[in-house]
């Protein structure tokens, strides 16, 4: 059994300790410091929000500028040299068309390409000595070309004179023109 005195002392000590445990209260000027601190923190929060808003606006503007720039850039510039297939240098049906110009090796080198870009795959292929023919000649064209290649110019002229139509024209006889003098009476009446 505990005697009463130690228990009483512990109770008193605990009461006193718990009373002090809650603290002696704030120092003077708590309201002032709290309001000043709140104002400072709110100002800092506003500045932080402003910075974030500005950063967001700058990001949006940059995105808009990028989109507009890419929209106005010619489509040919977006074709990279590496992406051009080797078939692009083969003869195309119409050399004057825009498509053939785009696929031309020279035009593929856009101005936005960096100078240190490695050589494209297109350069690896053999470049044709002659500009590609638009279409292969037809059979008639081939015959005509063969004929002209094997025939000289005098022969061509002689062949032309031999033509049947030309012989007929040379045999035409034209009668001399006879113009009768004008009658005086008729001329007086005419006056």
């Amino acid at each position: 059994m505990h005697d009463d005195k130690p228990d009483q002392f512990v109770d008193e000590l605990l009461d006193a300790a718990l009373k002090r445990y809650g603290g002696e209260g704030p120092r003077a000027g708590l309201e002032t410091r709290v309001l000043a601190g709140v104002r400072r923190r709110q100002g800092a929060a506003r500045r932080r929000r402003l910075v974030w808003a500005l950063a967001a606006c700058a990001g949006i503007l940059a995105a808009i500028v990028l989109v507009l720039h890419s929209a106005h850039a010619p489509s040919g510039q977006r074709v990279t040299r590496a992406s051009v297939p080797p078939q692009a240098v083969k003869p195309v049906p119409n050399p004057g068309s825009a498509d053939s110009r785009i696929r031309s090796p020279r035009l593929v080198q856009g101005h936005r390409e960096k100078p240190r870009t490695p050589k494209p795959v297109v350069r690896a292929t053999k470049r044709p000595e002659q500009f590609p023919t638009p279409m292969p000649p037809t059979e008639q064209e081939k015959l005509l070309l063969t004929y002209f290649a094997n025939t000289t110019k005098p022969d061509l002229l002689a062949e032309t004179n031999k033509a049947e139509g030309a012989a007929e024209i040379s045999n035409i006889k034209v009668a001399p023109l006879e113009i009768e003098p004008l009658d005086d009476s008729e001329s007086g009446q005419g006056k």
Partner: protein, 190 residues
């Protein structure tokens, strides 16, 4: 100090006149409560004032919902309580053995209960003992030591019945008394 405070009060942080008045009223009427609730958890004046500022800043940010706050005092105490718990660090005070030794020495020297309670060692010892309580008992006891909150307000903050608050306070005090007696008895026996 009072003049400086009045100047700051007039240069209010609130944007509207109504908000300014409301904030100033809240700080004047409940600033002490908020501070003591924070201090009861943090055991540090500086940290308690920081939490008080944070609590009133949150109150200001909620000004659109002020009409929905039925009991401003309880609302502020609850916010301060939570903010203090978020900030609470593990105590790095004097070891329990050293505190108990110092308190026993004071008692042996014939010091009274008030004198011993005022000592730094006794305060450290009580903090250790309170910290060793189960959380439900510790919370109720800590809030009650602020001497600013009634049992009903503590019950509202903790979300329990008022009778449960009284029960927890009784149990907490009983555990503390037994532990303190054991510590002092052990030292006294040596």
């Amino acid at each position: 100090m009072v003049e400086a405070g009045q100047v700051i009060l007039s240069e209010s942080v609130a944007t509207t006149e109504g908000g300014r008045d409301e904030l100033e009223d809240a700080v004047r009427e409940d600033g002490r409560l908020v501070y003591k609730v924070a201090y009861s958890v943090l055991r540090n004046h500086h940290d308690a004032e920081d939490v008080a500022q944070e609590t009133f800043l949150r109150f200001l940010r909620q000004r659109r919902h002020w009409a929905e706050i039925r009991d401003r005092r309880a609302w502020l105490a609850k916010v301060a309580w939570r903010a203090a718990l978020d900030r609470k660090r593990s105590p790095a005070g004097v070891a329990l053995e050293d505190s108990a030794e110092a308190v026993s020495k004071l008692r042996a020297d014939g010091a009274g209960a008030d004198e011993i309670a005022a000592s730094r060692e006794m305060m450290s010892l009580v903090e250790r003992l309170v910290g060793s309580l189960p959380s439900e008992l510790r919370e109720a006891l800590t809030l009650s030591t602020t001497e600013e909150l009634t049992s009903a307000e503590i019950a509202q903050m903790l979300g329990i019945q008022e009778g449960a608050v009284r029960n927890r306070l009784f149990r907490a005090r009983e555990i503390l008394r037994q532990k303190l007696a054991a510590v002092l008895e052990t030292r006294h026996a040596r």
